[in-house]
């Protein structure tokens, strides 16, 4: 194994050394900024000098309602999107969970991860059962629940994407994967305008799931079909101002 590692690294060094020696300009070549003194030492300074003149955001948060943009873009994927005042989250959650009841046999059971703000669940009626994940539910148990209710870490307006970092209120990754229905509450303040802002808000050490609509495939004749292995139903509750927790 060390032999393989050493040999691959040696081949890379040889290939790049030969290139540095015999550099000739070619058609359409762009100047390689700060990349002339290569080898190993100066990778970081050369990296810092790379051109990045693309837009940090494609919609200016100062002049665009990016929360509305997020709502529209998420809906384009055929996610169900509702925008409610933060004070009305509990009522909306109760209504949405109850509406799932006819699709379930017996009492509908929903998983709620640790750290979910209790006030979001304050109005859930008796006919709906809530289950925690401590101790962890088995995959088979998750496969039998009616759905899952979570918050999120960040959302991206430009692409209509929700990002989970699987911290508090979001649960481990399997919780939002195995059940067929996912209700996610997004606070307006969590909506980033675009990818650059969103990634800057995340902690790379954590696991992340980027979700843009329900699961889908284009594998049959390149026609998009929603609903494959991940949740086939994604319901986004966009809680407007004055975060409730």
């Amino acid at each position: 194994m060390t032999a393989a590692r050493d040999q691959i690294l040696a081949r890379i060094r040889a290939a790049n050394a030969a290139r540095a020696a015999g550099d000739t300009p070619r058609a359409g070549d762009t100047p390689r900024a700060g990349d002339t003194a290569r080898a190993t030492g100066d990778a970081d300074s050369a990296y810092a000098a790379l051109p990045r003149d693309y837009r940090r955001a494609h919609h200016d948060p100062a002049s665009t309602d990016i929360v509305e943009l997020f709502a529209g873009r998420a809906a384009d994927y055929r996610a169900v999107v509702e925008r409610v005042p933060s004070g009305a989250v509990a009522a909306a959650v109760a209504r949405i969970l109850q509406a799932r009841a006819p699709d379930t046999d017996g009492v509908p059971r929903f998983v709620v991860p640790g750290g979910l703000p209790p006030e979001w669940l304050a109005e859930v009626p008796d006919g709906v059962e809530l289950a925690g994940d401590d101790p962890p539910l088995s995959s088979a148990e998750l496969d039998r629940v009616a759905g899952v209710v979570t918050g999120c870490a960040v959302a991206i307006a430009e692409t209509g994407t929700i990002i989970l970092d699987h911290g508090p209120a979001q649960g481990r990754r399997a919780l939002t994967l195995v059940p067929d229905f996912h209700l996610v509450v997004v606070r307006a303040g969590q909506v980033a305008a675009d990818l650059a802002d969103a990634f800057a808000r995340l902690d790379p050490a954590r696991p992340h799931t980027l979700i843009s609509g329900p699961s889908a495939t284009s594998d049959i004749e390149l026609i998009r079909v929603e609903g494959v292995h991940g949740p086939r139903n994604l319901h986004i509750l966009l809680a407007d101002t004055g975060a409730s927790s």
Partner: protein
């Protein structure tokens, strides 16, 4: 301005009327055109087929023949692109030739860009009372980036009825030696191009490259479509008095 006509070996050998048309148009606009007899071939076919070594003397020959001209005008966007983009690759390792190529390449123009971009003319005084569709050849579109220059020239031709070509930007399947080495795929691509041309109801399909026109035209006559393949220059050369 000293204009040197870069005729290209294909147009020289098989389509001399196109060359005459370029001369007619430029002279009608008051320019003197010169034909440097030392020119032969730009080397594109050899270069694109992998015979780079054989193409080097051609790049050298081109540089020798055209060194003195302020503008070098060609009826082939593809060959013009070869000189502009790839003669520097052929010259690599020969500093003298590299310098010559660097000096000449930017002065090489396809006819449509020369007329609209350098001379700033779109109406060349042409008359052509026929329904025409325009096929943007791949190298004119993607290498030379002539944009809508040919279309602006065609729109200014009196009597000309310009028909939009469906799927215009799809390759006709010529591709130089591709048309021989992969003749089945090439023929299938050409068949689709011909079908699109027929859909327009045009009497004439025109383009900025005789190579692609030779390909499309060969299928048009084989299928007895009655549609003619004509170089853009030949349309621009026509006037009311039939010259």
């Amino acid at each position: 301005m000293r204009i040197g006509l870069f005729i290209t070996c294909l147009t020289d050998s098989l389509f001399p009327d196109t060359g005459k048309a370029v001369v007619t148009v430029l002279e009608r606009l008051g320019h003197q055109v010169d034909f440097p007899a030392g020119q032969s071939c730009c080397g594109q076919m050899h270069f694109n087929t992998g015979y780079r070594r054989e193409a080097v003397p051609m790049a050298r020959g081109f540089a020798g023949a055209f060194a003195d001209y302020e503008a070098i005008v060609s009826p082939s966007a593809s060959c013009a692109a070869m000189v502009r983009e790839y003669h520097q690759v052929l010259a690599a390792g020969d500093p003298g030739l590299e310098r010559e190529v660097a000096a000449i390449a930017p002065r090489v123009h396809d006819l449509s860009v020369f007329l609209t971009g350098v001379l700033k003319i779109t109406d060349v005084g042409a008359y052509f009372p026929h329904r025409v569709t325009y096929h943007p050849t791949c190298h004119s579109l993607r290498m030379l980036r002539v944009g809508d220059a040919p279309l602006r020239l065609l729109r200014a031709v009196r009597g000309l009825d310009l028909a939009a070509l469906p799927g215009a930007e799809t390759c006709c399947g010529f591709g130089g030696t591709f048309s021989v080495k992969n003749s089945d795929v090439s023929a299938a691509m050409c068949a689709d191009k011909v079908a699109a041309i027929r859909q327009t109801g045009a009497e004439v399909v025109c383009a900025a490259d005789n190579s692609c026109l030779m390909h499309i035209g060969g299928a048009l006559t084989r299928q007895r479509t009655g549609v003619a393949a004509m170089h853009l220059a030949e349309i621009l050369a026509r006037t009311e008095d039939g010259s």
